[in-house]
């Protein structure tokens, strides 16, 4: 039996977010909905990466004045996940902006937001 700590729960939430995002990107027919599903997917990945570094009962990895140096490596949360996530958030924003711009352009051209009409394959 896995203990239901905050880390396990947030891994679970991250997996659910990724699955919801993928399902939304696959099954929803509206382009804006697909865009929202994409942001949920990247949120899920971010959450997974952040909870990788969590330490049960640990402290924020900032060395405050007066803190003991010997306990710091054992207690502090790992920072490699957050280092990647900060970049991933920025990349997510820029990708969202480009997708939104393309969706607006395609709406002006085709007059619809339905993915089944706009994103048809070329060979059909």
């Amino acid at each position: 039996m896995i203990e239901l700590t905050l880390q396990t729960l947030s891994f679970l939430a991250a997996a659910l977010l990724v699955i919801i995002g993928m399902a939304g990107m696959l099954y929803l027919d509206n382009l804006i909905k697909k865009l929202i599903a994409f942001t949920l997917l990247s949120d899920g990945v971010n959450l997974a990466l952040v909870s990788l570094g969590y330490v049960q009962g640990g402290i924020v990895p900032i060395l405050e004045p007066g803190a003991s140096l010997s306990d710091f490596p054992n207690e502090a949360a790992l920072i490699f996940g957050p280092g990647i996530v900060l970049t991933n958030i920025v990349i997510g924003v820029s990708t969202t902006a480009i997708l939104a711009a393309l969706i607006v352009i395609l709406y002006k051209r085709y007059g619809t937001l339905k993915a089944s009409k706009v994103l048809k394959g070329e060979h059909e």
Binding site: M25, L26, A115, L119, K120, G121, E122, H123, E124
Partner: protein, 108 residues
């Protein structure tokens, strides 16, 4: 595919479609060349399974031959599966990813 056509029916339909169907067009040379190439490619790749086990290679070649005869114009199947529809590509990527992870973990 609950098709009850015999092999003769398939080949006959194929041949008739060549000579009467849409008539001779610019595309038909490409289609016939592509069909032959695809069949040869599939057989050559099926023969590659001999590097694991020679009996496995024989079985895979036989299975490939039966599959080729079943999906008679192979090129049509390939063309349909190559559509750039987003959902179709996503589906193939999921299949691919699971196969890669399964094969690599199993091969260990």
């Amino acid at each position: 595919m609950g098709s009850i056509d015999s092999l003769y029916d398939k080949i006959k339909r194929h041949v008739v479609a060549y000579f009467t169907g849409n008539g001779y067009t610019d595309a038909s040379t490409g289609y016939s060349a592509g069909e032959l190439q695809a069949v040869v490619f599939i057989m050559v790749l099926a023969a590659m399974f001999r590097i694991f086990m020679i009996p496995l290679g024989i079985v895979v070649i036989l299975v490939a031959a039966i599959m080729v005869l079943h999906f008679a114009p192979v090129i049509r199947v390939i063309e349909r599966e190559n559509s750039s529809d987003l959902n179709r590509v996503l589906f193939w990527v999921f299949v691919y990813f699971s196969v890669i992870v399964a094969v690599t973990l199993w091969g260990r």
